[in-house]
Structures are given as C-alpha cells and as structure tokens.
Symmetry: C2
Subunit: 432 residues, 2 copies
C-alpha cells in the first residue's frame, strides 16, 4: 500500500489539529479504507514553535511553493485563511495537478467560482467540508445524501460566536458589548469580531450551501446581511414576552422560482427546535421534496471538529486516487439555476419597536402609515415603561413585503412623535 | 453518456417511490453527476396494479431471477423486506457481479455478515443508507463524514412508531393500547406492531450503526432489547413530575473498552434536546473524539424519504461505475474490535416504581434491600394516591449495576408488602 502524500499550508490551530488527528487516528483510515495518508510537507511562517508533534526533519518549510511544487505531494490542504495569498496557493496547486482541501469559506464564497471551475476542468477534487458546520458533514449531506432531492430551503444557525452572544444576552439580560467581551475572553470571538457579528461569516457559509442546494453561482454579494450588534436587551425581553427568541438565522429559500438569500437576526417561537440551539452550537435544516426535513447539529468551529472534516475530505480523495476513480464535481452549477430574489421582494412577518412620545394618537398615526403600505398589524404591546423619555411601542405584523416595510419605517421615523430610529426584526414561524 | 441500468425487486410503497423519484428528479443526477439511471426491470408478485408510472412494456416481471440475471442490470435494489427470499436474492445478485442497494435492516442486522463479506470479496457495493433514519444520511455520516473519529457513542430515537406512541401517551395521558390504535389508524404502526413496539426494529438499526461506529461484527443477538408495551400512563406522569420524559432510546456506547448495546425505554430530562424529538421523528447522536457531538434528525420512515436514501446510494454506485473507481467497503469490520459488554455489567441510573401496601416500614424494607446491593437512593416520591389498594412508591437511584438491580428487584418483589411486579426504567442524563 503506497501512502497518499499530502502537503499542508498553514500550521495554526486547525493545521496542528489535522496533523495530530492523522497521527492519532490514522489507523482508522488504514483499517476502514485500506489507505495511508502521509504528511510530506507543511508550510508556515512560523517554523520554530514546537507543536509537540515530533515531525520528521525537513517536513516544515516557510515556503508554500515548496509544498505545492513537491512532486510527491498529491493533495494540498490550504489552512491559512483570508483571500490572498490563499487563492494564489490554491490556484497554483490545482494548476500543478494537485487535489485541494480547504476550510476557507471566505475565499470560496467571495472568489470561489474561478477555483471550482479550475478544479472541475482538471478533474480534481476541491474539498470544503470543513468550511461549514465544523465537523458536521453538511456538505456531504447536500452533495450526496440528499442529492436526489429538489431542495426547497436550507436554513439555520451557521455561526457559533453570534449564537453564544445571543444566548448570553437572552439568558442573562446583558448588553451586547458585555456578551461580546465574555465571548472574547472564552476564545469564542476574535479580537476583531467584525466577520462574525456583522453576519459576514454566516453569509459566506450560506453562499456555499445555497450553491450546493440550488446550483446557483456563488452569490455572496447578493446575500442580504445584517448583524447582531444593534440588538438590545429590550428587544430580547420583548421577544421573550411574545414567547420567542432571537437567533442570527441564515436562510436560502426557494420562493416563486427565485432564491431568497439572507442573514439577519430572526425572532422564532421558543418552542421551535432551532430556538433551543444555544451556545456555540450550529444547526442546519434542509428541506427537500423527497426528504421533507433533515437537521444537522453540532459544534460549528474549533480545531478538532474542523480537522475531523478536513481529514474526511482527505480520506475521500485518497480513496478515489487509490482506486483509480475520479472525484465528483465539488459544486455542480446548474445552467438552469434560479435567480436571486431581491431583498425588497422578500415577504416576512416583522417585529417593530418604535420609540414614541407618550401622547394620545401616536398608535393611530403609526398604524395609519403601516396600513397605507399594506402592512397589517397582528399584535401590539404598549406599556408604561419609559426608556429615555419615550415609551417603547412594539408591533408584530402579518406577512408584509420588505420594500413596503422599509418605506413605512422611513415615514414613521420622520414623524415628530417618534424620537429614535425604529427597530425592525424579522419573525419566522409563529402561527398567525 | 451510457445510462447505468438498475433492477428493482419489490414494487410496493418504497419501490414505487424510488421509480417516481428517478422519473421526477433524474435530471438532478444528470446535472450534478453527469449520469443517467435507467430502471430496466422491476420484479413483484403484483404486476397488474397500476402504479401510475407509465413504465415501458416489459419492465415488470413476477420473476426476481429475471431481474438478477438480466445481463444489462448493473445494480439490484432489494425492497421486499424480510429475511427470505430477500437474502437469496441479494446473494444471487452479488454472485452475478451486481452491486446491491437495500433498505432491509432486519436482514442486514440478523444475517448481514455473510452479505457484507460476499460484497467485500467481490469488490461490490452493498448500499444500505435507507435502512436507518429514512432519508437522513447517517450511514454516510458515520462511514465518511466522521471517518476520522474514534467513536465514543451512537445513540438516539431510531423508531418513529414507538416515538409517536410515547409522544401521544405523554401529551394526552392515554394508555399504551389507545395510542397504538391511533398510530395504526394513521398508518404509523402496522397491523402487527411487534417489530416496532418490542424494540426489535430499533435493535436492527442499532446493530448496523454499532458495526459502522466500532467495527464490531453485526451483533443483533447481543443487543439488550426491551419494548414499550409495558409502560403505563402512571410512569409517564411520574416522569413528568420528575422533570423528565420517556423515550425508546437505542444506545451503543464504549465503556471501559467494551461496547454497550441496548434498546429500552429511557427517562431523560425534559430539557435535553432529545426529549423534544416528538412524533414520528428520528434523532441520532454521534459522539467522536475529534467531533464531540453531531446530531442528525428527520422523519425516519415513509416512502419518499426512504426512496431519497435509496437513490443517493444508487447515485454513488453509478458515479463509481461511471468513473472506473471501486466502492469503499460497506462496513469495515475491525480485527481489533471491542467486545460487547454484557447487560449485567452495564451501569445506569434507575427509576423504580413499587406497588406496596400502605403500611409503616415499607420504605425502610425496600431501601434495606437496595442498600445491601450497593444501590443508593437519590430521590423518593411517596404519595397517598392509591392504585388498586396499594400505593405507588417511586425511587430514583444513583448509578448502579444492572445485575445488582435485577437481584434487588427480585428480592423486593418477593416481599409480602409488595403487591405487584415492580417497574424499572433506566434513566439518562440528569445531574445527580
């Protein structure tokens, strides 16, 4: 049995976890697939830190080119993240005829079209199981397990950092900033949390899932993306009063032949299973025509879970090489793929919180604007509690169109009795 | 592109759903994998019913041999269920060099060793994704997605019929018989519900999952199996009082180097996610060393979900044939697999309900017997409500060994103050 030789670019948390997993559990691959994976070369800028792995001398190099150009290396694993030079390394590896495995959702979502095309033209694998849901095999589920389904929707909680922050805000009533600091202290959030808290990481992952599910081109730029940093404990308290929770939901959904692509805070009934996905967990629902619902849930990040997914890709590729087959297309882009539905056209239920002066006739004014835009009110909460001189007025609407909602809020925010920009949170799932 | 030709044996609910799915969604396979599946022959005893599928003349036959021996058929799908003649058909198909796909968990769990061996020796695929969790890709998740993990445990709700009955008993307080009748009326339970309600179907599925997870031989005979028909609304009410729910749990768990294999009603804290899996849903947890927890959930049965899984297997096999590769082993049995832990050695928390005469000293007598067997009591519920002249006495224990529990119950049931056989339900998950 000739070992399949791999090269790794990026020897941080995930790279180290991949090598350790191969060292500790490589026997499983031998036993289960009759094949051996051997790490031939690893490139990193830091080649002096001791990662405690006892690598053979000559394995480490500071030159990515040395990994890519090594004639023995058959699969290149890209784990440096970011757009550049990661993209160049992957393109170089593919052009050198190597299969590639990556966990780089940002790169694939933003500039992956060229990479998938290059891999496809050369009959090479481009494995990215590790890019969504950590070690949970969601890519495999969509590509293989649910292959025979016309997918109606893929949605879920795709980012553990924001889910941790929202869980903390909800269970302890703390402000966003405090929950974020705690997440940073625990290592769940980065020093610069922008990608996570602005919903960009979720949008990257949703982009990949949507292309797998619907065959659409990678459409990161067209994902409507809204983060969680504007959420206040007040909205979370109102949600709770309404029997709901707020989650950062990523949604790709077929509506009238178009695909909705959106990431935003969403109010969901507390009783819905997805509301109970707390802490750093991820959860993804897939709705197909033959398999009406399939849920995959697990920790969405971390060195070991991500390494588990990287090695599963490596094993599939190695098996294919070993048995003389050809890898299937990484993503099959459809010539008849549906178009993206503009966010203005999307319909939803809405939660509004208005800060209004405590005067007679305010509700009627606001309701008048909404009615004129075809937005009908389902529930009202108006209470005496003053916040900064004004009273919060909370409304839940029936289904309404986003563009009408935006116009209505613009008009409402211009009313003299409204003292602050209004809050809008989309609502999914309650029985109207 | 030459179509891959398949033959189907068994044209009932699932067989019909498979053909319909290939007709309706076959374009997905063409588009995504560049391959075509063509149903060449279908065998069934009933070749006269109109299934509304508009099959070409000559497709239907009453002879399974005609399907198996057709030189053009490359993959045989067995969907008749039962042990015989299904086993003969699968063996004949493998010996004729055909790949096989089946949904037959009973056959694979009870006599699959020979079938897997035959497939393995001939380098043929034996696909069985449809045998567990309907259309949920749990087999693929264990074989591929979580391949790099040493699995610590696989457990869950593997049978929709019993989960429906327990949900109904729990939400409406009805007796087992009434809930069963309702399940039968809705088509969730068969006229003879034995396989489901006695836990045998769950044990079949657990057998397959355990071999995938731990590499152990198929060990159906060694699965400790207990059904739900003895459960009373009284126990469900006490569970609720204790903040718990009763589910039919199937567990394969590594303990001290041995594998526990058991299917039995289990009390679980209401807050645990698995307690919220209600109705006909299935849910399977996998705990690995690299991926600490992965949950897969969805409808566990039904024509379309099962067909979704059958076609996913067909697509994988067709891709392998099409690209000149070889299928991986269906199950990789390990030469160093752990042994099965005898049920007597298994440790658990326990719920006991004793029917005792309402006399002073009864609790002390019962507690004395338990204490002598090293079973320590955690919680006691004793209430005035008489049931048939006796008072129910409910105890929760700390962790105890099954053999001690059985001996203790035998002694307790022999006490003159105890009026009926005691009830025992295993408990998982609460903080002691």
């Amino acid at each position: 049995m000739k070992p399949i030789k791999i090269g790794i670019i990026g020897f941080g948390t995930v790279g180290t976890a991949v090598v350790r997993l191969l060292q500790e559990n490589g026997w499983l691959l031998r036993e289960r697939l009759g094949l051996e994976l051997q790490v031939k070369k690893i490139a990193d800028l830091d080649i002096s830190s001791d990662r405690g792995l006892g690598l053979p001398p000559g394995t480490l190099t500071s030159s990515a080119a040395e990994v890519i150009q090594d004639p023995e290396v058959q699969v290149v694993v890209e784990l440096i993240g970011g757009l550049r030079p990661a993209k160049d390394f992957i393109l170089q590896a593919l052009r050198a005829g190597k299969h590639v495995v990556t966990a780089n959702k940002a790169l694939l979502a933003e500039e992956g079209q060229e990479l998938f095309q290059e891999a496809q033209q050369r009959g090479l694998a481009l494995g990215f199981e590790a890019s969504v849901a950590g070690g949970g095999p969601i890519i495999r589920a969509l590509r293989e397990g649910l292959l025979a389904n016309r997918i109606k929707a893929v949605y879920g909680i795709l980012n553990g950092t924001t889910n941790y922050i929202l869980t903390k805000m909800s269970s302890e009533g703390v402000e966003y900033e405090e929950a974020l600091r705690e997440a940073q202290r625990l290592g769940y959030a980065e020093a610069d949390p922008t990608l996570d808290v602005q919903g960009i990481d979720s949008a990257h992952k949703l982009t990949l899932l949507a292309s797998l599910a619907f065959g659409i081109p990678l459409s990161f730029q067209e994902v409507y993306t809204e983060g969680i940093s504007h959420l206040s404990p007040l909205d979370i308290a109102f949600a709770s009063e309404l029997g709901m929770k707020i989650k950062l939901l990523a949604v790709a959904k077929l509506t009238e032949g178009q695909v909705e692509l959106r990431v935003h805070p969403t109010m969901l009934p507390q009783k819905q299973p997805i509301s109970q996905v707390d802490g750093v967990l991820n959860a993804i629902y897939v709705e197909g025509d033959a398999m009406p619902q399939c849920l995959l849930q697990g920790p969405g990040a971390g060195g070991s879970p991500t390494a588990s997914a990287v090695v599963s890709d490596l094993a599939s590729i190695a098996h294919t090489i070993h048995t003389g087959g050809r890898p299937a297309r990484a993503i099959s882009f459809s010539p008849t793929a549906p178009s993206i539905r503009p966010i203005q056209e999307v319909e939803s239920l809405y939660y509004f919180r208005f800060s209004a002066l405590d005067r007679p006739g305010v509700l009627s004014k606001i309701a008048g604007v909404l009615g004129a835009k075809n937005i009908s009110i389902w529930t009202v909460i108006q209470k005496g509690r003053k916040v900064g001189g004004a009273v919060p007025l909370v409304l839940l609407t029936h289904k309404a169109k986003e563009q009408n909602v935006r116009q209505a809020l613009k008009e409402i925010d211009a009313l003299p009795v409204v003292t602050k920009k209004s809050t809008l949170i989309r609502v999914e799932g309650p029985e109207e």
